[in-house]
């Protein structure tokens, strides 16, 4: 068995699964065929529904991958051959030539700036921007290494030019680089190859061939501040600002006449986002969305689409498009459409059209399936082995992650990625930590006392000519020598090269330095490298300081060398002033108790427990009922697999019951929780008032959700036998006795009951449409002559199989569409045998329809479980406005709470189906077990600290801390003659992230942040303004 994993694809799915795998004890080979990781997410401008800047949240993760010693980053590589089986795969990877020596390239860009070749369209900007023949895909690319396009480069095609070789001071250009095959052995393989958006394959109906018709991904680049138009909303034909922008939904999908019959699941949301951002960018623009259904089924999604309309004035039309044509004179577009609300055919003139084109498996998927010998489904997505585990491919040891398995959004992908990592950890449990490396420092850390005189060394980087051409480096070096405590300063060509690291260590030793400064590029990418070098030389890493004289001097003041040089001097002098006051900071190691407490014994809780247990850790499940299974106990048949719920339930219950590493507490709840990550003391109380005290390392919240009982709505009062909820129906269908159906001839299902409203429950609860479609079919099988009528608003059948499932069952019922302004009206016409009359205005037919019905089924939303406030308070984690638990970050941390050590899975986070609950539960188990695997956590040195002498115990710091790292406790304070017990603030170093919000909030200046303390920042300010 190999303790390493191959991850194919470096998008957010591959990035997340790689990072999690290393934390679980595995070495990762991350193979990406393009020159940079980041994938589709790096091309997005913002992310819904928070409009977070996509790159702001992704770039730190990309850098984390780059810096991770246990990830071998293989960009511009392709997997060519795979043999072997689970535990022992042999993989051949082809390294494509960059014509640049990766070990030498510093990413400075001198080659590209001098490259004379005419510019060509840039794939990263969806061919809207330009690049040279030697290029980097985008400025934040990881790794920051250039490459040469062999089809364009004059040297490679015609043997002339060669300018890049001449200007590259790092001597990194290698024109005769050849492809190379590399063999690796791994224990498991993750496929995370994502999606493409090939708009050019659309039929002529959508008008993509016209200049001002763009795909949504192209439009993301147009919106992006670092895109081809620098964030100005301009149309491609004449770069004028469009006034009327039409967004076309489902262009080329959800239609048997088009290529793609399924729903891509994210387009409704990104369209609302793009429309909102458009309005934010340009006041003059008007956005029109030509919609089909609005599929907005995630957390805060539906509300987001409503905000687009109510706050931003985006107009939505329910339409069917027949054709889009171009006005040749103006390059405007004429959209021919049928307005489904009025039934009229209209033309609409738009200046720019954005197509929500289908997302399809990425190019090369079929070849890769052949190489890996795994199956594809009929849409050419990779086929999951079982509905209950979408991470498993058809072949053991090969896992599927993210969009390559089927449409999903970013948080689903991230959860999936963590779930894949945890399942691999279970599979390769016996070999974890066999191939990872942990840094061993040969030189012990030297003692640096605060009273020691500072001895500062400074390295000033030329960065080839990137700094040196605009900043007079030798003048700077000489100036630094005049500053107090600067013992040594020197210039070098590339500070980041490995010979420079050796030089830094040499300098520290030779001059007995106790502080070190590098003035070069950005600390965001390079600080960790230099800190490591300092550590290797025996210097505490917090005694290092970095100055960015490239991005802040040479590159932004290119026309003014004098000013750039002066600024560099100032910035380094400020750093010297701070460095004098730097203190060595300890990083404590805290032990982790290798147990996890799982709150809730439903499918999510059981799945998480099984995963934790199979990794060899103890899992405790606490369940409020007297049985496992949660909501699954109430379900009859599961869609879309049409299998009895009890089959799966009994199977997983058996596994849990027979697992020695799992202990279950029934009829129990949490009485008290104390402690923090790795060290919780939890006491549990059962219905007989018996208490149990547990030592817990991490906690997973899997408390589920429940169906809303719509008392008082549509005559529902729990007494009318024939007005029932969808869950009541499930029970009736489960019962052996089906005689209740005998007198029923017509059934009416009403969807979105008390959901997606302006007030009250505003959200869409994701699963109800599917459940009702499933039950139509089951009812028809029980009694074929039944008439079924469905009153709906929008159908949320967004997963890859669901559209088809819905289409197959559509013939079994009559579907009438209503809207919020015209709710159906129900009257009881016969009390005894319960008959009802329903009046509904069907927006498709534009007519009121009246009919009799015998049974009414109400689809109501799922709502949070009862009494969550109490639990949330005990755990110190937040609930969202709908009462579900609120994750740390809706996009990239869907399973974490902001407080380290506590995680989230299943319907406790948001209503979801069993497949997604299982994926999340595995993910949460993975997130939680990272700490258990590592056995210890290392606290950062960069944390807040309280001066108890100054602390007045007001508690302001506690109230602003986003991580619950501060607690006001009583402490005994000694004064001259007396001791008093006073309230003081205490900071938990295991939880503090060092943001410093507490420090700036403290009214008495009692809190400071290490490494950014008051004196250090005051010293920088004084140095800038007073020491010139």
């Amino acid at each position: 068995m190999e303790g390493s994993v191959l991850v194919i694809g470096g998008g957010i799915a591959g990035i997340q699964t790689s990072l999690d795998l290393t934390e679980l004890g595995f070495k990762v080979y991350l193979v990406e065929r393009s020159p940079s990781i980041g994938g589709r997410m790096s091309q997005l401008d913002k992310t819904f529904p928070t409009n977070d800047c996509s790159l702001c949240i992704l770039a730190p993760k990309m850098v984390e991958v780059f810096r991770n010693p246990n990830i071998e980053l293989m960009t511009y590589h392709e997997v060519k051959k795979v043999t072997g089986k689970t535990g022992n795969f042999q993989v051949t990877v082809l390294k494509k030539p960059r014509y640049i020596d990766e070990t030498k390239c510093k990413g400075c860009g001198d080659c590209a700036s001098k490259c004379p070749k005419i510019e060509v369209p840039n794939a990263f900007d969806m061919n809207l921007g330009k690049r040279k023949s030697v290029y980097i895909p985008f400025p934040q690319a990881v790794p920051p290494i250039y490459l040469i396009d062999p089809e364009l480069c004059l040297k490679l095609t015609k043997g002339v030019c060669g300018v890049c070789e001449k200007v590259c001071q790092a001597e990194a250009i290698v024109y005769d680089q050849k492809p190379k095959e590399i063999s690796i052995n791994v224990g498991a393989i993750v496929v995370a190859t994502g999606f493409d958006m090939p708009a050019e394959e659309l039929s002529s109906r959508w008008g993509y061939k016209y200049k001002n018709v763009v795909s949504a991904l192209e439009y993301e680049r147009i919106l992006c501040a670092s895109g081809p138009f620098e964030g100005h909303v301009l149309r491609p034909s004449d770069e004028s600002e469009p006034e009327k922008i039409a967004f076309i939904q489902c262009a080329g999908s959800r239609d048997l006449h088009e290529n793609v019959p399924y729903c891509s699941s994210v387009c409704c949301m990104y369209t609302a986002k793009e429309a909102i951002i458009t309005k934010e960018h340009s006041d003059n623009s008007n956005c029109f969305v030509f919609r089909h259904d609005i599929r907005a089924y995630g957390k805060n999604f539906y509300e987001f689409t409503q905000r687009a309309q109510d706050e931003y004035g985006v107009k939505y039309f329910q339409t069917k498009i027949s054709k889009i044509e171009e006005d040749k004179e103006t390059n405007d577009l004429i959209i021919h459409y049928e307005d489904l609300k009025s039934g009229k055919f209209n033309d609409f003139r738009a200046n720019l059209v954005v197509l929500a084109t289908p997302l399809v498996p990425s190019k090369g998927t079929i070849d890769l399936a052949e190489i890996l010998d795994i199956e594809l489904d009929h849409y050419d997505f990779f086929k999951e082995n079982s509905y209950f585990n979408k991470s498993l491919s058809s072949s053991e040891g090969i896992f599927l992650c993210g969009f390559c398995q089927g449409p999903m959004d970013i948080p689903e992908t991230v959860a999936d990625a963590s779930g894949v990592a945890s399942q691999i950890a279970a599979l390769l449990n016996s070999v974890k930590y066999t191939e990872t490396k942990e840094k061993v420092l040969e030189i012990p850390e030297m003692e640096v006392k605060i009273s020691d005189e500072p001895r500062i060394g400074v390295l000033v980087c030329h960065c080839g000519i990137n700094i040196g051409k605009y900043v007079d480096v030798s003048e700077v070096v000489n100036y630094l020598k005049t500053l107090p405590y600067v013992i040594h300063s020197e210039a070098n060509l590339y500070s980041c090269s490995s010979d420079s690291q050796a030089r830094i260590k040499e300098l520290i030793k030779e001059h007995n330095l106790n502080r070190f400064i590098v003035a070069s590029c950005t600390p965001r990418t390079h600080e960790a490298l230099f800190q490591e070098t300092c550590q290797e030389a025996g210097l505490n890493k917090y005694l290092f300081e970095m100055v960015n004289i490239r991005d802040q001097c040479s590159w932004v003041h290119m026309g003014d060398n004098k000013a750039a040089t002066e600024k560099a001097k100032d910035l380094i002098r400020m750093a010297v002033a701070k460095a004098r006051l730097l203190k060595p900071l300890p990083e404590a190691k805290l032990d982790i108790i290798p147990t996890t407490l799982i709150i809730g014994g439903g499918v999510s809780g059981m799945t998480a427990a099984l995963n934790i247990a199979s990794q060899g850790f103890k899992a405790y499940i606490i369940e409020k009922e007297n049985k496992l299974g949660g909501n699954l106990n109430n379900l009859n048949i599961l869609y879309p697999i049409q299998e009895e719920a009890s089959l799966f339930l009994n199977d997983i219950k058996d596994k849990v019951n027979n697992n020695k590493n799992i202990q279950i507490f029934f009829n129990s709840k949490i009485k008290n929780i104390k402690g923090y990550i790795g060290n919780y003391d939890v006491s549990i109380i059962d219905s007989e008032n018996k208490t149990y005290d547990l030592k817990i390392g991490t906690i997973i919240v899997a408390t589920g959700a429940q169906e809303l009982k719509p008392d008082g709505i549509f005559l529902y009062d729990r007494k009318n036998r024939n007005i029932i909820t969808q869950l009541d129906l499930e029970q009736k269908l489960k019962d052996k006795d089906k005689s209740w159906l005998d007198n029923i001839n017509r059934i009416t299902t009403i969807l979105c009951v008390n959901a997606r409203q302006k007030e009250g429950i505003t959200y869409c609860s994701n699963v109800c449409c599917g459940v009702s479609i499933k039950n139509i079919n089951i009812l028809k099988e029980l009694k074929p002559e039944l008439e079924i009528i469905v009153l709906y608003r929008d159908f949320q059948m967004a997963k890859k199989d669901f559209e088809e499932y819905y289409r197959e069952r559509r013939k079994d019922a009559v579907f009438l569409r209503y809207d919020l302004d015209n709710l159906p009206k129900i009257n009881k016409t016969n009390d005894k045998i319960e008959k009802y009359n329903i009046k509904v205005f069907d927006t498709n037919l534009q007519d009121e329809i009246e009919f009799e019905t015998d049974l009414i089924i109400l689809s109501t939303p799922m709502i949070p479980a009862d009494n969550l406030e109490e639990l949330a308070k005990m755990l110190k984690v937040p609930l969202d406005k709908n009462g579900f638990f609120l994750e740390a970050h809706v996009k990239l941390r869907p399973l974490d709470f902001a407080t380290d050590g506590i995680f989230l899975a299943g319907c406790a986070q948001w209503p979801k189906n069993i497949q997604d609950s299982i994926s999340q539960a595995n993910g949460a188990a993975g997130r939680a077990s990272r700490f258990l695997s590592a056995k210890t956590i290392t606290t950062s040195g960069l944390i807040a600290e309280v001066n108890p002498e100054r602390c007045i115990g007001c508690g302001k710091c506690e109230s602003v801390c986003p991580y619950n790292a501060i607690e006001i406790k009583e402490a005994s304070m000694d004064f001259e003659d007396v001791s008093l017990v006073l309230k003081k603030s205490f900071i938990n170093s295991a939880l503090c992230k060092g943001c410093g919000t507490c420090a700036a909030t403290c009214p008495n200046g009692a809190i400071s942040v290490k490494h950014y303390d008051f004196d250090q920042i005051y010293a920088m300010i004084e140095s800038y303004l007073l020491e010139r």
Partner: protein
């Protein structure tokens, strides 16, 4: 220990501007301005903090006291904060600080500003610095009270 400023004519005036950047968004925006070679006036100096929430009002007051002609605090857009909500406290605190600077100290409020810059807004960062620098030039040297 305040510095007395030389009297300078407006057109020769080279203001001293202190800019606080948060590590995750606005500092990254400044980096992108650099990588993209967006040029801006060379008058400002950046102090990096992990979160705009770290920017204590005393940092701003200290800078003004020591003779800074302008102070700019930058952070992640609301909702983007790497530390969840640090910038919200910055915003609330800044309102009070700004009022204090204007009303109690009688300093022109235009000299001190709070702005949000994302990691992909390199252009905006350069434009912001240009515009702020020009505004401070327009206001002339700040005379320490």
């Amino acid at each position: 220990m305040s510095k007395t400023k030389r009297k300078v004519k407006k057109k020769d005036f080279n203001p001293e501007i202190l800019v606080f950047c948060c590590n995750w968004c606005s500092y990254a925006g400044a980096d992108l301005a650099g990588v993209s070679r967006f040029q801006y006036p060379p008058n400002m100096r950046i102090v990096r903090v992990m979160c705009s929430g770290r920017v204590d009002p005393s940092f701003v007051l200290k800078a003004l006291k020591e003779g800074a002609d302008g102070v700019l605090i930058t952070g992640c857009h609301i909702g983007d904060c790497h530390y969840i909500s640090g910038n919200e406290y910055t915003r609330d605190r800044f309102q009070k600080l700004h009022q204090f600077i204007i009303k109690q100290l009688g300093i022109n409020g235009k000299r001190v500003r709070l702005e949000w810059v994302s990691a992909s807004e390199g252009k905006r960062f350069a434009e912001l610095i240009t515009e702020f620098t020009n505004q401070i030039k327009e206001l002339g040297p700040f005379k320490v009270l």
